[in-house]
């Protein structure tokens, strides 16, 4: 039973109160402190107003079909304690009627994540309770807010990564106590030694954002909002580009992405590349004029042409960096003679311009694929997870220009394999799935099935035949086909009816090291191990094989993976999906549909 002696929660129903609600703050042994979330993405924006909170939910509107939408969520609004618009600030909770993504000046609202500080306590019975860190909690533990120390270190090392010089990094570090409620600016400078020219000088620092903590709001104590809890907030930079004074205006390459022009400079439209007030970086560092071709030596990071200036004229860089960064925030505290530390990370990225669409291959998927064991199949959760995967596939696919992706990929295939005439419909004869103009056409059976039916006017061409009203013929089909897979009965029927087709049409991920042939092309490729007839040839991919680099219509079609190879879903996703197919053919064939205990009474309306 919770000890409600100390309860000050305004939340009426003790049954739904948090386990720590009303608990004696002195109770239990302190094991440690932690931030929630341990990692969060911040997103740049030029507005002074931060982005309000919003959540994903399932839209069940018959006009649009089942799909993910966003809805406004309770947001934490900063309020000036003194009422003068300045620090210190406290927080209150408001749910906006709607989310506007830009302010009235057309500036994008930055996503500025909060981080809550929690303590982990152990009770005498061995149970572990998580408790919000508040001023009252700290006092009960014999310490105070001013002894809770935050260190926030942020850096932009993009120029350093290319020049290999720390004097081209931009690093900011602030240290403050939890009762320091002013805004702490992450003004970065370049560390350097005597004689080195810093890219970012101390007298003109690079603003990487700011961090704040808040005065406790005791007005309406609730275990749901915990407005007296210690929180940090990171507000990222505006997303601006900075450069040396010379990086003002220049002709831009008019070529398609990835293409390089001859070393002449007059052909492009001329644009301003930085705001005047942002031309604050040093000119005389190796970052100005950096060129990935220098010395013809291998370079890291790749892609090597990933800086402004790389694709025009000589390819010399203009010396630009931006105000994005990634940072680590640390909280340190001593209780009962023991030091406790919590850390969290955040990274400032671009806005999520389609916030109701989720990646099918998210950061979470990648991290889980790297660190977690294979997922366990569970008749309650696995169907939901697979349905969610297919919903995310649709969400991504619904915004893909498949016509462009297909033409780009097939053109690339012919270049990769040194085929002089990539438009020859049969240059890839004998290869399956097809790599040339017949990819995703009738001759690409058994991979191609629906698309040729839905695109009767398309021939075996790299570029689709499309006029003003065609509306991207391939793109239309992918939307139509994948929208259906968002619905569980349709998805289930699709998976159950012809699982071998699913096994064949999904591009296998790469094999683990322990599965790879020692010598590619000499020892056999690792089979996925399907039992069905005609599936013996399906193998995990080998990054050393040329066929691992060529694009075909297997799912996801023509999209790019890390390091510029064709994308597959993660090994963990793949194994789960394939194991699910096995279950659907076997023991879950009848159990996925819940047993119904039907009341024979009239259906209630």
């Amino acid at each position: 039973m919770p000890d409600n002696t100390h309860k000050t929660c305004s939340h009426a129903d003790p049954e739904t109160c948090a386990p720590w609600c009303g608990r004696d703050p002195k109770r239990g042994r302190m094991l440690g402190i932690y931030f929630d979330p341990p990692m969060a993405i911040a997103r740049v924006g030029g507005s002074k107003e931060p982005m309000p909170a919003y959540r994903w939910m399932l839209d069940e509107n018959p006009a649009r079909g089942m799909q993910t939408m966003i809805k406004p969520a309770p947001s934490l609004i900063e309020t000036s304690v003194k009422g003068n618009g300045h620090h210190p600030y406290t927080l209150k909770v408001e749910t906006p009627d709607q989310i506007t993504f830009k302010d009235r000046h057309g500036k994008i609202k930055p996503v500025a994540p909060f981080f809550e500080l929690w303590a982990r306590l152990q009770d005498p019975d061995g149970s572990i309770v998580k408790v919000p860190v508040t001023e009252a909690f700290l006092q009960a533990r014999g310490t105070r807010l001013k002894h809770l120390r935050f260190t926030v270190e942020a850096a932009n090392r993009k120029a350093e990564a290319r020049t290999k010089l720390a004097s081209c990094a931009a690093i900011a570090r602030v240290v403050f106590s939890a009762d320091s409620y002013k805004t702490h600016h992450l003004d970065a400078i370049s560390p350097h030694t005597e004689g080195q020219v810093p890219l970012v000088r101390e007298d003109a620092p690079l603003p990487l954002g700011k961090v704040r903590t808040y005065v406790a709001n005791q007005a309406d104590p609730s275990c749901k909002t915990r407005l007296d809890q210690v929180r940090l907030r990171f507000v990222p930079g505006k997303g601006d580009a900075y450069g040396p004074p010379e990086a003002a205006r220049a002709p831009a390459s008019p070529l398609p992405p990835g293409a390089f022009g001859p070393a002449i400079t007059e052909y492009g439209r001329i644009h301003k590349m930085t705001r005047k007030e942002n031309r604050i970086l040093s000119s005389d560092t190796p970052w100005s004029g950096y060129n990935f071709r220098t010395g013809n030596t291998p370079k890291w990071p790749t892609p090597m042409d990933s800086y402004d200036g790389a694709r025009v004229g000589s390819g010399n860089g203009w010396g630009l960096i931006d105000d994005t960064c990634d940072l680590v925030m640390t909280a340190e505290l001593a209780v009962d003679g023991m030091a406790h530390m919590a850390q969290a990370r955040t990274m400032a990225g671009p806005p999520d311009f389609a916030p109701d669409k989720r990646p099918m291959y998210s950061i979470r998927d990648e991290l889980e694929d790297r660190d977690l064991p294979p997922s366990r199949l569970d008749p309650d959760t696995t169907p939901v997870e697979i349905l969610d995967l297919f919903r995310r596939i649709f969400e991504t696919a619904s915004l893909v220009n498949l016509d462009q992706r297909r033409s780009w990929a097939l053109d690339g295939n012919s270049q990769l394999l040194a085929e002089p005439d990539g438009t020859d419909p049969d240059w890839d004869a004998g290869i399956t799935p097809r790599l040339g103009p017949k990819s995703m056409r009738a001759d690409d059976a058994p991979y191609a099935s629906l698309v040729p039916e839905y695109t009767p006017g398309q021939g075996d061409t790299i570029e689709p035949r499309s006029g003003a009203h065609d509306r991207l013929p391939y793109t239309q089909v992918v939307q139509q086909v994948h929208a259906r897979m968002c619905d569980s009965p349709i998805l289930r029927a699709f998976l159950v009816r012809d699982p071998d087709r699913v096994r064949r049409i999904i591009r296998p991920p790469f094999a683990h090291v322990a599965e790879l042939p020692k010598i590619p092309g000499v020892q056999p490729d690792p089979r996925v191990g399907f039992q069905g007839d005609g599936l013996e040839d399906i193998t995990f991919r080998d990054p050393r094989a040329i066929r691992a680099q060529t694009y075909d219509m297997r799912m996801p079609p023509y999209m790019r993976h890390s390091m510029g190879v064709p994308l597959s879903i993660t090994r963990r996703q793949y194994d789960q999906l394939m194991a699910y197919l096995d279950k659907l053919e076997g023991e879950w064939r009848h159990t996925v549909q819940p047993e119904l205990h039907v009341d024979t009474a009239e259906v209630s309306s």
């Binding site: 690093i171 790749t302 960064c325 990648e366 991504t396 016509d403 322990a514 390091m563 259906v603």
Partner: protein
């Protein structure tokens, strides 16, 4: 996500209690775009941060980089190059005096303190092999010259992938060598044994060994460089390729969820990265990157203009989320029995009849290849318009066939759930003899010409349907086979219009399933919503086709074939009718098997048989159309 601290493992930043198990929930105050679920995990170099950077420190105590080759080609220095050995800077092994961790960490500490660690302190070292599960993978390509194997180091991108494929929590051995000028390994490899780093701590944070700034160090500089200029699109979930333009009513929340003023609204895919100040900014997106390039923001230009890019919800550019609550009409079927009767006796047949009427209209269109050079010269765009019209009408016809399946699926699911009340499921694959259509919007019977076929002898069916009709604004007509003339297309638009007859039936279905407390089978509601929402697509497609074929309306021969319905007994026509019968019979068998959760391979074989029959029908019908003969589709239903 191994717990190094003794704390309870916490999977990333997923809140303890999510309202919906599918959707991750952030903490109070944070939008979902702060979640790792909202960021893109495939990186070259990435969007939010570059996950490839994790592999720079894949082996505790060592820091690598993965140089790729310049346009000049390989020079022996590509692969995985050791930047430095830094055991003292790696929290896992920094404290080399203690031995209280896992055994492999203690052993690794000894190696770094021994000759292996000493060797790596001097010179340039490259990763030579990785070994796991008894499989040693050399990081060199083999080439045979004069029966001798030559080793060329793989470039960094290949080596990175091999490292990415090392499994966590399993013993790992790596070897490092120095290299000769040609890239071939020299000397005896320094061998280290250990494990691949766990990248996440027990708290769900990326290992603190990665310094601030490391995870974004390989990203583009400035970030806008790649945002505009990447040689590929692979981030569509956050950075759309194509969107639908902003409309007056972006979420289609008007009463009938449409906008009549601009018939192209919300159906034209436009390029999201288009320059917003260009006069041609709202035209259809183009099919290749080179063609799209001139109308997109330039490099440098994007640095100061990226905030002009629009946010996109449900595929459409918007300024904000809608304020008004979701609109759903309150109508619904009153009982399960009413629903089943409507679906089996009305809707299934309607879907099939519509599919066949649409198919007839499809075959009535000329093929783009039939357009002569003179015609194309006089009517520029005619070929492309025909190609587009054929694809759009066919896609609706195929979609109606899919709806026929879904209506049957709804029926077999409820029959299985309520066997006592509803009895056994029987496939509904009979085409409706009549269609109920809006009276005032279309020309109805008057929209016929000498080529059209209005099925005779259906007076009784019409009378029965009229008795069933609820709305005096509706009229009942016999099923017909008509060419895709403007008035016919206008009728198709009205039939598919949201709030129209078809839509209302499905809204009733959705209403029943939404509001009922009965335990309907899993997903039934989703299925109903899907059918209903498809209607909007059909409506928009027909509206679009009607609009862009309108310029040819006065000279129908430009886009229509002079086809008339063929005699079902004609030897040229009969095979087409037989194929329809064959397809429907096969579908009926398949549905029956699926309904009983029976032998799925057989069900699939039947469906493949049906599809094959439809492919054959397509071939025959095209050939007949070229002879100005239309398929008498309804002859398949005596």
């Amino acid at each position: 996500m191994k717990d190094h601290t003794g704390a309870a493992p916490k999977p990333l930043n997923k809140a303890a209690k999510a309202e919906d198990p599918v959707y991750a929930e952030p903490i109070l105050g944070n939008p979902v775009s702060t979640l790792m679920e909202s960021g893109v995990g495939n990186c070259f170099p990435g969007l939010e941060f570059d996950l490839r950077q994790l592999d720079v420190r894949f082996f505790p105590g060592l820091v690598f980089e993965f140089p790729g080759v310049t346009p000049a080609g390989p020079d022996g220095r590509q692969g995985a190059r050791l930047v430095y050995a830094d055991p003292a800077g790696d929290p896992i092994i920094a404290d080399h005096f203690t031995a209280d961790g896992p055994e492999w960490i203690t052993a690794l500490k000894r190696q770094f303190a021994g000759p292996e660690g000493s060797a790596l302190g001097d010179g340039t070292w490259y990763l030579h092999f990785v070994e796991q599960g008894g499989k040693r993978i050399m990081l060199y390509d083999y080439a045979l010259y004069q029966n001798t194997a030559a080793l060329t180091p793989y470039e960094g991108e290949t080596v990175w992938w091999i490292i990415r494929l090392i499994e966590a929590e399993k013993p790992l051995t790596i070897g490092l060598t120095q290299r000769a000028a040609d890239g071939s390994p020299t000397g005896v490899p320094v061998v280290l044994t250990g494990r691949r780093r766990q990248f996440l701590t027990g708290e769900g944070m990326i290992d603190p060994v990665y310094h601030p700034g490391e995870l974004t160090s390989s990203m583009c500089s400035p970030w806008t460089h790649d945002f505009r200029d990447c040689a590929c699109h692979y981030w569509a979930s956050n950075h759309p390729d194509v969107v639908l333009g902003e409309v007056d009513d972006p979420q289609q929340m008007l009463a009938n969820r449409t906008d009549k003023n601009d018939s192209a609204q919300a159906v034209t895919f436009i390029d999201w990265m288009r320059r917003r100040h260009e006069p041609l900014k709202d035209v259809s997106a183009l099919t290749t990157l080179p063609r799209a390039r001139p109308d997109r923001y330039d490099p440098y230009e994007i640095n100061l203009h990226w905030e002009q890019l629009d946010f996109v919800l449900q595929g459409q550019e918007v300024e904000a989320t809608p304020v008004v609550p979701l609109m759903q009409k309150p109508t619904k079927y009153k009982t399960l029995e009413e629903m089943v009767a409507e679906l089996s006796e009305q809707l299934a047949g309607m879907e099939l009849t519509l599919a066949l009427e649409y198919l007839y209209a499809y075959f009535s269109l000329r093929e783009p290849e039939d357009v002569t050079a003179e015609q194309e010269k006089a009517w520029p765009g005619l070929r492309e318009d025909l190609r587009a019209a054929r694809q759009l009408i066919l896609s609706v016809a195929l979609s109606e066939m899919t709806h026929l399946r879904w209506v049957n699926q709804v029926l077999w699911l409820v029959h299985k759930a309520y066997p006592d009340r509803l009895g056994a499921y029987k496939p509904c694959l009979d085409a409706a003899k009549t269609l109920t259509i809006p009276k005032d919007k279309v020309s109805g019977r008057s929209c016929t010409d000498a080529y059209d076929f209005i099925e005779p002898g259906l007076e009784d069916a019409i009378k029965a349907a009229e008795a069933h009709r609820n709305n005096s604004d509706e009229v009942v007509r016999a099923r017909s086979l008509r060419r895709a003339r403007q008035c016919v297309l206008a009728e198709f638009v009205e039939v598919e219009r949201p709030d129209g007859i078809l839509d209302t039936e499905y809204v009733n279905l959705v209403g029943l399933l939404r509001d009922s407390k009965e335990p309907y089978p899993e997903g039934l509601f989703q299925l109903a919503v899907r059918i209903d929402s498809d209607g909007m697509q059909h409506y928009q497609k027909f509206r679009d086709v009607k609009r862009f074929l309108e310029p040819y309306a006065k000279q129908e021969a430009l886009y229509l074939r002079p086809i008339s319905v063929g005699d079902p007994d004609d030897a040229r026509v009969k095979p087409a009718v037989d194929k329809i019968r064959l397809a429907l019979a096969a579908l009926g068998e398949a549905y029956q098997i699926e309904a009983e959760l029976g032998d799925m391979p057989t069900a699939n074989a039947r469906i493949m048989e049906a599809r094959e029959a439809m492919h054959d029908l397509n071939t025959i019908a095209l050939e007949l159309a070229r002879q100005d003969i239309g398929v008498p589709f309804f002859a398949a239903f005596p």
